[in-house]
């Protein structure tokens, strides 16, 4: 549910037109849309590079972790998931809120990784590294739009 759908649902619930605060919020969203689109495009184009460079930084700080265990299958799966989270951040940029991340990637996430035996603390560090590399490829404006979604992801681990 995008920011647009969310304010509409809110207004509908209260049987009214959108409030001026809600309209202002949408206005702000639309005026940042050029930067949102270009940030999403850069994340899409650089996903592989971001994951590779993020992994290097992560392993330098945390060498003893499943993705660095020497089992190529594990490495591939961990990096695949990290790439998916970058994709979800790109959805959030376009949706104007963190709902895509929450609905697709956070709901049930802890249970899944605990069951897989992947240490959440390690994932948290890995995501911090991913964020760092990803923001490095964005302008300040794009980075400011993307950072909160990465932060929410990091907090969730």
């Amino acid at each position: 549910m995008s920011i647009v759908a969310k304010v509409i649902a809110q207004s509908d619930e209260a049987n009214r037109f959108l409030s001026s605060a809600e309209l202002a919020k949408l206005q702000e969203f639309f005026s940042s849309s050029t930067a949102r689109v270009s940030a999403a495009q850069k994340l899409a184009a650089n996903q592989q590079k971001i994951v590779d460079e993020g992994s290097k930084r992560f392993w330098a700080q945390c060498p003893n972790t499943p993705s660095n265990s020497g089992n190529p299958q594990k490495t591939a799966l961990c990096q695949r998931d990290q790439g998916w989270y970058i994709r979800l951040v790109s959805y959030c940029l376009l949706a104007g809120n963190s709902k895509p991340l929450e609905d697709i990637g956070l709901d049930g996430m802890r249970d899944m990784y605990v069951s897989l035996g992947v240490p959440l603390a390690n994932l948290k560090l890995a995501m911090k590294c991913i964020k760092e590399v990803a923001l490095g490829g964005l302008t300040a404006e794009e980075g400011a739009l993307a950072a909160p979604y990465f932060d929410q992801l990091i907090r969730a681990f």
Binding site: M1, S2, V4, A5, I8, A9, S11, D12, R16, F17, L18, S20, L23, L26, Q27, F29, F30, S31, S33, T34, R36, V37, A40, Q41, L43, A44, Q47, W84, R87, S90, Y91, L94, A95, G96, P100, I104
Partner: protein
Amino acid sequence: MQDKITAAINPADEKGNYLEGAELEALQNYFRTGEMRVRAASQIGESAASIISETVAKSLLYGDITLPGGNMYPTRRYAACLRDLSYFLRYATYAMLAADTSILDERVLNGLRETYGSLGVPIEPTIQAIQAMKEVVTSRVGADAGQEMDVYFDHLIAGLS
């Protein structure tokens, strides 16, 4: 409900894809019209009551429908008509903001014909009123936004027809 953005993200996620190419372009086109949509929603919200009054004056007020025996008589039924017209206006405005008709299907049209049938509300004058509302809204929000609102009013008319 769906909106233009969610409707683009969901199928992309099903395939594990980023939004690119034609899908992203469609979204960009929507974003470019965002300011117009917000402005129109604001204008409509601020003057909803007067839009409804003018709509009734244009379409229903001077016909037999407001006389004894008509469907807008007595006052209780007149008020119910105003309320329904204000629903049409509000939901068309939501749909215009979302650039998606699904909220009209889910919240307005679902079962409406049947409800009107059982209450004896005539469809033809309802459609005339929505047609009049299109003109009134366009005169308030301008041609571009009016054209966009027409899409959703027409969807209501098609659903009632």
